[in-house]
Amino acid sequence: MTKARENAIADERWARAWRLLMVGLGVLILCSCQGPAQQFCAPGAGPPNAAAYPSPYPQLPESAYTGVPPVPPQAQAMVGPPGMEQGVPLPYQPTGPWTPPGIAGPWPQDEYLRDGGDRELPTRVSRDWEVFGLDLEDTVAHYDTLDGRTVVEPSNRVHIYAPRFAAVRKVSAVRADEQIGRAGGFHLATTLLGPTQALPVGVGTQNYQPVGGVAARPPVVFRSRQGDGVVSEALGAVGFHDGLLPFENLAVIRMGTFDEAEMPQLARGINAALAWSHDKAVQVIIDQKAAMGATADQTSPSVYTVGAPPGDPKLRVIKVASTPFAEPGDEVALTIRFDNVGNQVIGNVTIIDNLSPRLEYVADSAQCSLDAQFLTQPNEGDSLVIRCEVADPLEPGQGGVIRFRCRVR
């Protein structure tokens, strides 16, 4: 076998391997293109069998598979009868709100108003009680502990379905019976012109006709008109709808009754205090308060350890809204319940709610069950920051309710 033949065989093998590699890459590229499965169905073939053709979206109608809805022979439009005797036909809705896989609700976020919590930058309070990191839609409470700390506790987040729409308009002129052809030539004076000479004025065609009064309006101009300020009195300042969010506890919010299951740490502290308050146990009184044992062995009465209970200040902040959905102009009542669920007194309790730009605070609607002072100041969203400063310190187990109303913009 000659050297040239060996080279030819090697080249052929390399060429074959290269072709196989290219075919493999092509198959991989084609397989990587993602798209809805229904677009590959042949039109007119009808919806495939659900068992043989599983769909990621449950209970989609037939038109979802073909893309072209079947046209009934008798009519091309579904028009309701007068009076809607058979009920108003609702749009198609799959079982439960649809959300993309892996994304928790409520979704999509641009259709919901959110208020509460502490998103983005964590809120911090300086020694002179200046608040930093309070973002829009945040609701936090801060308080001072006996050891000199200032603790920030965020509330839960409330979601209200309240989409709002706007539009972008463009006005252009339409030309009829006109055709734009290629320029056949041009006249360009390349020599210097005398003072008495003048260039011929060309005629140009503009694609968009400037419309007086329309094009002169700059894009940033916003046209709006303030509403008539109708305030709903039927809702009531303290009224709640039945449709509260799942994580809300009506017993806690409305009646303020504490459940041990909701406060396991406080319950454990109470039980420990009761156990060591028995007459036969070691009695230690510090500052007129009974000390609690940290560790003990009931079976060996000769060994006891008595220590001061660790301070565990804790403020629970729960926020609820009166309705899960609202339209622009509607009023929403917001209620904040705060409770001292720790085991020591806390002071300078302050609840701050940075309202969303879509929520407008109804003046003089704020009220608190405790002696408190309400302050408001504008925020960066041209809404308000509502600040409620509770006058007296909160004993363990003590709490209060703040209520105010907002109008959806």
């Binding site: 979206y57 809805p69 749009p91 809705q93 649809w98 894009p219 102009g329």
Partner: protein
Amino acid sequence: MMAVVALGWLVVAAPAAAQQPGVHYLHQGVMPPGAIGGRQLLRGGPLPGYFQPVEIKAPQGALVSLAVAGDFDRPKAAPRRAGFLIGQVYRMRVTNIHLHPGMEVFPTIEVIDRLYPPRGQETRFAIPVELTQEDLELALQGKFVTRVIYLEDPRRALPVAEDPQQQEWFEIGPGGDPLAAADALGRPVAILRMGARLPDAEGPDAQFLFGCPRFVQYPPRRVPPAAATPAEAAPAEAPPAAPPAAPGPGPGGAAPVAPEAGQP
């Protein structure tokens, strides 16, 4: 070695490249009706077959007709509410325009995205499409008006109260793309085009009516949102008894019925 690198790059980058952005960067507002919505359907999601409720508003006294079976149905006073399929183009006829008796305008509405309201609140939160008096007069003058209705981002929304009788809108100048501007401000959901199109003298043909796609008609809103208290509005918009989903060939069990009496 190069093949291995290329293979690895494809495995890593192919899924990311296949994911399309949620905005219409590749589309323009001047695209023909139906093109943007049609491309939107290819992005996936529960869009095909969903009848998105739309509320068509017009000036006082104006009558709106929707295309049904090759012609326009009986004119009805605005606002009209109907459920439109996403990606389809719906031709309307607006008559009895104030100060322009006998004149007609033939706008089109293309729904390019849907809402995801809570169950039972679909018809309450319809997409508002406004035909203003100014837009109608511009269309009568021969201008072409394009309105891209978008859903505002609550965190970037203008902190002003909305007038229930008039939708907030921006104006962009010549050369601007309304779809791109709406994409920057929120999520475009519908496109209204008006003007520069008239039906043939013999009557509207199928091309002019875009095939008369199906729609679901809803009764008009009983109480304006601003005038109704929440306690009153809730029972008025309470979800009616939905028909069973199984027997109806239409989505959600909305059984198609015969057109109204007197319709062409």
